[in-house]
């Protein structure tokens, strides 16, 4: 049976503002399927975002939705979750929103490990403002502010999240909607801060300046560079340059990188705080 997206969407807001062929729709649909998989009630779920193309996603979802200031979505979400710890929080962000202007909030949300899920749609560019380079634009590529080729090194969003302390971190691409759905679902199920990076295409602002001005060639470019994490482990660093390493970087089940998080608290933040309330609350 076909999935009923309309159950979760504000259909009066469709058509959306994204360009035809944009990858954000793939991510939104994967997220909605994941939401159904975990049986989240619409009334009990809030979607928060910052500014940019990806940050328009919450507006289309028939839930409690909050479109905030540039890069600050996580801070508003933190307040909501602290106020109502039993509710579900999802934050949509782009690469510029999450790792440039919101970079400080990003690493601290990872460190704090509050039970929320951040979905970063990484299209390597500032789309809405007209194609300026972002912290994930590859070296040598053109943007409206790197017209002679980018010299500005990139962040690896997943490695950043992992080092900062997020407890579920995964990356896939908009070529793999099912995998995204699975990762987002695992993010929802993780009792802690989860980061899912969805590598996406912006043929309009990024592709056009780099000889891949249609969605197919832009997505092909992503597909050609994709290397599964398991395979990447055995590869030489120089062979991984500008590649998209996909997979689960931190899972609650694997103890592969557990030593990195030796400072991790035993309990999720809002649970630990509830314990404090129970302890000191006036009878």
């Amino acid at each position: 049976m076909a999935f009923d997206y309309e159950k979760y969407l504000r259909m009066d807001k469709i058509p959306h503002l994204w360009c035809p062929g944009c990858g954000i729709g793939v991510v939104l649909k994967a997220m909605l399927r994941a939401m159904e998989n975990v049986n989240w009630e619409r009334n009990d779920t809030a979607f928060v975002s910052g500014i940019g193309c990806t940050s328009r996603a919450p507006g289309y979802i028939d839930c409690n939705t909050l479109h905030t200031t540039h890069g600050r979505g996580l801070t508003f979400a933190t307040g909501i979750k602290m106020a109502q710890p039993d509710k579900n929080l999802v934050i949509f962000s782009g690469d510029g929103d999450a790792t440039a202007i919101g970079g400080n909030h990003f690493i601290h949300a990872c460190r704090r490990n509050i039970d929320m899920t951040l979905i970063v749609v990484n299209n390597n560019i500032y789309g809405m403002t007209g194609g300026q380079h972002s912290p994930t634009t590859p070296i040598g590529f053109k943007a409206s502010t790197t017209i002679y080729g980018n010299v500005d090194p990139s962040f690896d969003i997943c490695l950043l999240a992992r080092a900062a302390g997020a407890t579920y971190v995964a990356r896939s691409t908009v070529n793999k909607g099912r995998t995204l759905e699975q990762y987002i679902q695992r993010g929802f199920e993780n009792k802690g801060f989860s980061v899912i990076e969805a590598v996406s295409n912006c043929h309009t602002q990024f592709g056009r300046k780099n000889n891949m001005s249609d969605p197919i060639s832009s997505r092909k470019w992503i597909e050609d560079r994709e290397i599964p994490l398991a395979k990447a482990r055995d590869m030489k660093a120089e062979d991984l340059k500008n590649m998209v390493i996909t997979g689960e970087f931190i899972t609650e089940k694997s103890d592969l990188e557990r030593w990195e998080n030796y400072n991790r608290a035993e309990k999720e933040y809002t649970e630990a705080y509830s314990d404090i309330i129970k302890k000191v609350k006036k009878k």
């Binding site: 409690n64 200031t69 509710k87």
Partner: protein, 377 residues
């Protein structure tokens, strides 16, 4: 009857009043001289089932209180000049999205890092114009510790009544002062809460002006599932660029406070009956002014004081009346003339505006004000 007299600091009273007003969330960032407010909130909030969080920066602190308020908890943040600068972006968001929050700014010397530990009244204009665009402003300036408690409760009430962020401007001296005061009976406090929608979710619009200039506010997770944005929006909460709607909405925002000025404006007139010289003051400087006025009266100088308990909105009618009644208005301020500039505009040559501007971090002494009173008599 047993009197409720205890020693409190100003910072402690902000925290106490906030909790008594129903505040159940604090998001903050350490900054001198306001950190004690965060420390008190960290200690007291969990005792009443509230939550405290120290965020990664001032911007995040402001974002967190807006989020918590949307989720149904009255929220407070506290900061000082440089932190208040950082908060301006999200403060503007709270005005635009009409989210009630209270921001306590314990003022210190500026610009920039300035004088972190010293007395100043440097943010009078930042409170009015700090964030971009036009917006209504309510800012309160307590001068006594009893007033810190009273006006903090009022700040929460105004934020809930008008769905706006309200700014509590404390002088460093007021926040750090400790004295024994008697608090009002808790049962007699007037506590206001945001107006809730009375319609079913399918008929609810978050910015529905059918109910007046302050639309009823549903909290998140109460079944209303609406959208909030900092973009110009229509009554549904979704973005619009319709010039007429944007114009009407901005006018409504300003009207929320302008049409209610009479209820919000709050000042004390001290020995004003026969005064032909007036000291126009607020915050800690008004305390020096009071001593100066008492001493001047002993010299048969007819001087009085208008003291602002609410600095924004200004009591324009009272100022205009003064301008045609008195021969001089003395404005002592711990800044370079942020309020006197405004008073001068109202005076328009009808009376003399005499400024006393100290920015060195040392309180204005009563004798400084008395000297000026003697000069203008």
């Amino acid at each position: 009857m047993k009197k409720n007299i205890k020693f409190y600091s100003g910072a402690e009273l902000v925290a106490k009043a906030a909790i008594d007003a129903g505040c159940r969330f604090f998001g903050g960032y350490p900054i001198t001289p306001s950190s004690e407010i965060a420390e008190h909130m960290a200690k007291e909030l969990p005792k009443v089932g509230g939550t405290f969080i120290q965020m990664e920066d001032e911007i995040a602190a402001m974002g967190s209180v807006i989020g918590a308020s949307l989720a149904g908890k009255k929220s407070l943040t506290a900061t000082s000049g440089p932190g208040f600068s950082l908060k301006q972006e999200n403060l503007g968001y709270a005005y635009m999205a009409e989210v009630p929050v209270v921001i306590c700014n314990v003022m210190r010397g500026g610009p920039s890092t300035g004088l972190p530990t010293a007395l100043a009244q440097a943010d009078i204009m930042q409170a009015k114009w700090g964030t971009h665009g036009d917006h209504p402003v309510i800012a309160l300036t307590p001068a006594y510790l009893e007033e810190v408690y009273e006006l903090t409760i009022k700040a929460f009430n105004y934020s809930e009544i008008y769905r706006i962020p309200v700014i509590l401007l404390l002088d460093e001296l007021i926040a750090h002062l400790s004295t024994a005061i008697e608090l009002p009976d808790k049962d007699l406090l007037v506590i206001k809460d945001r107006r809730k929608p009375t319609v079913t979710p399918d008929k609810y619009f978050p910015y529905d002006t059918a109910y007046g200039d302050v639309p009823p506010m549903a909290n998140f997770f109460e079944g209303y599932r609406y959208h909030v944005t900092g973009l110009s929006h229509n009554k549904t909460g979704f973005p619009t660029t319709d010039p007429d709607l944007v114009q009407a909405d901005q006018e409504r925002h300003l009207r929320k406070v302008n049409a209610n000025k009479g209820k919000i404006i709050d000042f004390e007139s001290y020995k004003m009956k026969d005064a032909d010289i007036v000291v126009f003051a607020y915050g800690s400087t008004s305390r020096a002014a009071r001593v100066a006025i008492d001493n001047a009266r002993k010299l048969d100088i007819k001087v009085g004081m208008v003291r602002l308990r609410v600095i924004w909105p200004l009591p324009e009618a009272e100022i205009l009346k003064l301008c045609s009644k008195v021969k001089a208005i003395i404005v002592p301020e711990m800044n370079m003339g942020q309020l006197s500039n405004v008073i001068e505009k109202y005076a328009a040559d009808r009376t003399k505006i005499v400024r006393i501007n100290h920015v060195g971090g040392v309180p204005i002494h009563p004798s400084n004000i008395l000297d000026v009173i003697k000069e203008v008599r």
